[in-house]
């Protein structure tokens, strides 16, 4: 099953989803498609002026182009998602490395899709980490059962 992960470039979530036999939908796949095309118009990530136009599918025209450009990467992943694992308030998405409005929009769109979602927080202790891994494994196992039905 295709599982959307948030943060979209998370190593831990991507690894755990793959480990438990599902396909993670991560932003790296979308970037890979862009940068491995023969002509690179706008390095490094090849986000061209066309991308904010693609983002119009997800956000209105008055929304900043940065949000729409990011949605051109995240949107196709959301549309492919059959389930989602979301870590709430990841520290790394705060500040200049993230975009709060895009994060809100991604969370809204994934919840509006009515697919199985697992909500978590990043662990801060060993006990919490055990619970974190256990919950993810149980969630992914239950998805496997649904698919077999």
């Amino acid at each position: 099953m295709k599982v959307f992960i948030y943060p979209t470039n998370s190593l831990i979530l991507s690894d755990l989803v793959e480990r438990f036999g599902h396909e993670p939908l991560a932003v790296m796949q979308e970037i890979s498609k862009r940068v491995n095309t023969p002509g690179l118009d706008s390095p490094p990530m090849n986000i061209t002026p066309e991308d904010p136009k693609i983002g119009l599918k997800y956000a209105a025209v008055e929304v900043p182009s940065g949000v729409r450009g990011r949605m051109a990467l995240n949107g196709p992943l959301i549309s492919k998602a059959e389930a989602a694992i979301i870590v709430r308030d990841p520290v790394v998405s705060f500040g200049c490395m993230g975009c709060a409005r895009t994060n809100e929009l991604v969370n809204f769109l994934i919840r509006a899709k009515k697919i199985p979602i697992l909500d978590l927080y990043y662990p801060s202790s060993e006990e919490e980490a055990k619970e974190f891994v256990y919950k993810i494994s149980q969630f992914l196992k239950s998805l496997g059962k649904e698919e077999k039905k």
Binding site: L16, E127, E131
Partner: protein, 141 residues
């Protein structure tokens, strides 16, 4: 042909990136391998890379973590050597999550042993009466 790049992040007391690189070379697969400070990057055809890395994970299942990478190793637009140093975008995420990897490894060990973690009690919000009482007690008469 669908080419992908995957990065192996090693957080193990038993395995070094150089050990993994030797194992990868031994496999004689048609892939490009680059050893880095955090682990190894492997680039090649999807089916070959996936098969090779699922075998590599078995060296230390609790110390090897794998994710896909958008850029190929040594990509001039992203490589620090051609961009005059500095942290590459994506480094901060890796740095944040690497701190959690030992705990995640403990979680995976516990899962394999069949441990079921006790469910946490949800924290209740402070009731208004209780808060009023605290304020009253704290007031200096």
């Amino acid at each position: 042909m669908d080419n992908i790049t995957k990065m192996i992040v090693i957080n193990s007391s038993k395995v070094l990136p150089s050990d993994v690189v030797i194992k990868l070379y031994e496999s004689n697969a048609d892939v490009m391998i680059k050893e880095t400070c955090f682990g190894v990057m492997v680039s090649g055809e999807r089916s070959v890379v996936d098969k090779l890395l699922s075998e590599t994970r078995k060296i230390d299942p609790y110390g090897i973590f794998i994710k896909e990478r958008g850029f190929a190793p040594g990509e001039p637009n992203r490589c620090r050597a051609t961009r005059r140093g500095g942290a590459r975008p994506g480094f901060h995420m890796l740095e944040t999550e690497e701190k959690l990897l030992p705990q995640i490894a403990q979680g995976l060990r516990a899962l394999d042993k069949g441990e079921i973690p006790p469910l946490k009690m949800k924290k209740k919000k402070l009731e208004l009466e209780k808060l009023m009482e605290i304020i009253k007690n704290a007031e200096v008469s």
